[in-house]
Symmetry: C2
Subunit: 285 residues, 2 copies
């Protein structure tokens, strides 16, 4: 059997990346894991984000994945190095592809980044951008309310616009010409964001760019699926709350089929937790 | 050693209950657990809320607690019966005390309830109120954005007021004279809520009422601490993210001392998970 691509997110926002992947690579098999039992990650500590990321990777390893996509900006910001050391396969995060596209896109070098509190605190986008273009000036803004607004389905009402005006006041003052949507929930707010920042600011959807990057990396590593059959897609989540299928389909752009709930606490009881935890302690000391 | 009172919440909102408890019962020893690694519960499934509640109770049992206060509306709405069967000690939730006070307070019998999506879906307040006063009419409204607004510290700005106007439009139209704040985060929004519903609507802080109820139940069960020494207070959380102490102190009304982080995944590995999970399966079948 052809090995699948593994992909995880703290919840269901990562389905926007799956949607792009399916478009770009319709033959690939995909296993998705959304950690809906512990979502969100963006308000949690770096150490916990690393621990959860390793546990999620451990879950996906059961499927003999050929590459891992971390479709979560918060996890990509804190756990990419640790995952890269932990796994033998290519590990792809959303930060680098988003930063690269922003640097290519921006004319003035004034780039804005919006994301969760944890993502912005990590300065992960800053580092990537400054590495690629040392003269760039980066304006980062944590927007903790936006995920709740998307999940509430308030994509374009007056509360959303007012909230965006508050959050984006500083990036606008800094005269950014490019804005990175540094959270997989935010592309659903694109229209509202455009209204607030104006049509001349280019929005970068990190998830979309990541799907492109994944194709290149699979190609380079000769890992693309050989046969021309349509791929299968399996979706695992650690919780299925009310309205899950409705919200999930909003992200995926089609109804979610083959959805399975994992009892993650039970799964964790079956793996070598100590190994995972010691690895984090080791990395952090 | 005098046994402590155990109290848990999905996060730190339950500290508002601790604050009231300390005021009412300064001699009591208190152990608090906030499940900040998995917060929030209000967007999760009933089964998961039950599982987490049992796991939290299992953690607090280590301290030989004499009573358990469930200082979380979502957990009180779904897991109180299951906890009551699981533990040999009195278990006190926030829903019943809040509903009782609302019924006593309301003149017209038109009572509003705001809470998380899970709390409102459970209809827990509806049931308690209708049991106590069958003629009452209850208007429930899920307000998923409010927790994020409180944690962002936007307690009284224009976004908060606009959001409240949207959420409270229906309860206002129903001419409620009493509004239950069915989430421990909401008392921090009292001023803004008053502006929206008007001064004639009485706000019921379920947390405050629960501290009162706890005193009565301890008295009735002859469980009040006998000596006159000041009690000790210990605070455990499963994660300590950025700004934790700042936000926590806002709820507690004073700086948090004796704060300890628990590695909850490791703790879960050390207990009989199967027993806990089977109990939930058993209850749900």
């Amino acid at each position: 059997m052809e090995k699948p691509i593994g992909i995880f997110d703290s919840g269901i926002g990562g389905l926007t990346v799956v949607k792009e992947l399916i478009k770009l690579l319709p033959h690939e098999n995909i296993v998705y894991f959304g950690d809906t039992a512990r979502v969100p990650y963006g308000t949690k500590s770096p150490r916990l984000i690393q621990q959860y990321s390793l546990e999620n990777a451990e879950f996906l390893r059961q499927f003999d994945i050929k590459t891992l996509i971390v479709a979560c900006n918060t996890a990509s910001s804190y756990a990419l190095d640790i995952l890269d050391k932990y796994l033998e396969i290519p590990v792809i995060g959303v930060v680098k592809p988003g930063a690269e596209t922003a640097v290519r896109t921006s004319k003035t070098g004034h780039i804005g980044v919006i994301g969760t509190t944890a993502t912005i605190n990590s300065a992960s986008y800053h580092r990537e951008i400054e590495h690629l273009r040392p003269q760039a000036s980066v304006s980062g803004q944590a927007c903790p309310l936006l995920v709740s607004l998307v999940e509430e389905g308030w994509l374009d009402n007056e509360v959303t616009l007012l909230t965006l005006k508050k959050y984006l006041a500083e990036p606008i003052q800094e005269k950014i010409d490019t804005l990175i949507l540094g959270c997989t929930h935010y592309p659903l707010l694109s229209e509202a964001i455009k209204k607030v920042v104006g049509g001349q600011v280019r929005l970068i959807d990190s998830g979309k760019e990541t799907a492109q990057a994944a194709r290149l990396i699979l190609e380079k590593n000769d890992l693309l699926k050989k046969d021309g059959q349509s791929g299968w897609h399996r979706y695992f989540v650690s919780d299925i709350p009310a309205k899950f299928e409705e919200i999930g389909s909003r992200f995926l752009g089609e109804p979610i089929r083959n959805l399975e709930r994992v009892d993650f606490d039970r799964f964790l009881g079956s793996v070598n937790q100590e190994k995972i935890l010691n690895r984090i302690l080791h990395e952090n000391n």
